[in-house]
Symmetry: C2
């Protein structure tokens, strides 16, 4: 039998000789690595940086190291990466890449690997998750526009396979019906990915088909900035001709022209909370399912105003030098 004082003496002597705890060897014995994997989408956007930073801050101070994997949307590749992380004995995963029915979540449940979803959630709550209240976010955006007097509002939707795209789209529809605006007056265009370029092409389609719109609610700030690009190329002014609302309040959107009205989400806080939940699960806290929904906030800047009169708009609406297949004949 080894008594505690002997252990202490041995450790002291070992330390003197320059020995340190070898986490790799220790993990073979304890089965714990104090390593956490974080899966982040491969496009390095400003949204995921604060989530990553928040989670890493919390985990580092709790003595965990963080293994970050940038992954695409291919679920086979995601599972491969996750297997690799499991093989490296990560204690758990924080996943910012979840689709609404994610095979990776199934894999983690089967492997009994603790996992917390962040920002994007599944259709049904199978594992703990931290996300923004997407329905409320869209309600704030639509209420703001309706109060300004808009009733012809379009939506640039995000990818429907992610909860952010899906729920914001749903939130948009719900909010409009609360204001008794029919779906036909509220067209939706999908952006394939959350990029400025995809935002621009979705905006082109939206305005080609619906030149009567006076406002656009984007599912994400980058999509909104893509809409800015299209207004500029068509000689339209924001907010005079079209008001625009973004989503996320990513860094610098207060400095773009015009400063973007948007829905603020606390991404860093999201990272903190996901890390805390995972850490509790790892430090013996059982497996209580947690579903944290953070309230977003409307930030009003200068990209939204009351709509101008119908008569004034029509002359402005023309897109000089652009040919849109579906644009009405009154182009000049």
């Amino acid at each position: 039998m080894v008594v505690p004082s002997q252990v202490e003496r041995v450790l002291k002597a070992a330390k003197k000789l320059g020995y340190r705890l070898d986490p790799v060897a220790a993990s073979l014995r304890t089965g714990r690595s104090r390593l956490v994997g974080i899966l982040v989408p491969d496009i390095a956007t400003s949204v995921f940086t604060p989530i990553l930073a928040g989670a890493t801050e919390r985990l580092s101070s709790a003595g965990y190291s963080v293994l970050v994997a940038y992954v695409g949307n291919d679920s086979e590749r995601q599972r491969e990466l996750a297997s690799g992380l499991v093989a490296r004995r990560v204690d758990g995963l924080i996943v910012a890449t979840a689709s609404r029915e994610d095979p990776l979540v199934t894999f983690c449940i089967e492997e009994e690997l603790p996992i917390v979803l962040v920002n994007r959630t599944e259709k049904t709550l199978r594992v703990s998750a931290v996300a923004s209240d997407e329905l409320l976010g869209m309600q704030l955006a639509v209420n703001h526009l309706c109060l300004l007097g808009h009733c012809k509002i379009g939506h640039l939707a995000g990818p429907p396979e992610h909860s952010t795209g899906f729920l914001r789209r749903q939130g948009f529809k719900q909010a409009l019906s609360l204001h008794s605006i029919s779906a036909s007056r509220a067209p939706i265009q999908n952006a394939g990915t959350y990029t400025r370029e995809e935002g621009a092409s979705a905006t082109r389609r939206l305005l080609d088909q619906h030149p009567e719109l006076t406002a656009i609610v984007a599912a994400n700030d980058l999509l909104a900035l893509g809409a800015y690009d299209v207004l500029r190329e068509r000689g339209l002014e924001c907010p005079k001709d079209i008001s625009i609302v973004g989503h996320n309040d990513m860094p610098l959107v207060d400095l773009v022209h015009p400063p973007l009205t948007t829905i603020r989400i606390s991404h860093r806080e999201m990272g903190w909370m996901a890390a805390d939940i995972l850490q509790q699960a790892l430090d013996g806290g059982g497996s209580t399912l947690r579903n944290v929904v953070l309230p977003p906030e409307l930030v009003i800047r200068s990209s939204t105003s009351s709509p101008i009169s119908e008569a004034d708009r029509k002359t402005v609406r023309a897109a000089p030098g652009k040919t849109g297949m579906l644009r009405p004949a009154r182009q000049v």
Copy 2:
């Protein structure tokens, strides 16, 4: 003796039974983990995200996993983190946090741990590094302003303990002397960190002491955006009253108002190259010292123009409602 065909048969059988290579156990045997650590400054700026993404892309496709550590500027803590990474048997490090004389580099040399510096370099080349040509960058910025007719140019310098701050400051001075502009006409203010807030306070000091300036060269885009904030609070216009040049061409500075003239650095490419150099070193490529200096590029947008006449400027210069300790008496 084990013959190759036997090895193959055993592996095949093992695979059939569901066995996979355990990288942790394997690393104990081979001493190789195929893990690379990347040290990134703790402030999650848009600059480090593309470096990280670039390095991770390359390393992942070469079969390495990446352990990212967000670290502060405290060198003791940095060494602790690095020890932790060494203990986890990282094969090598990519370091984006180097100071000009970095104890961490000494530590890695002593531990014989392959290391590549990225973006920030040391005073003397002790290990391989990939960075931008900082002197050329500042020359491009200053030349552009001088060609527009500016000769009273100030500099918002970055932290002098980092090569970016130090060399851009040096580049600024060199470029001005090439244009025969004396140092007294080219004042410099240090920003403690690369943030919009620090950029704003350095700009306040710069303009309080030197209201005659017609242009500012910032060592970083965030510092330039801080200068934008101060111009706005003082009722000054950019570029009419003061031209501003940034550095980095981070995402969205083309959309701020006015769109920022800046020096473009290929951060993603920097990440790729650092990863390639490290990988070559790890895959038995010896220890040739590499010093890669990437050429930056001037991107002219709308924050720079020719200076307006002296007479016009003086009335504009006043800062309504602001009291600057060192501001001249002609304030209104």
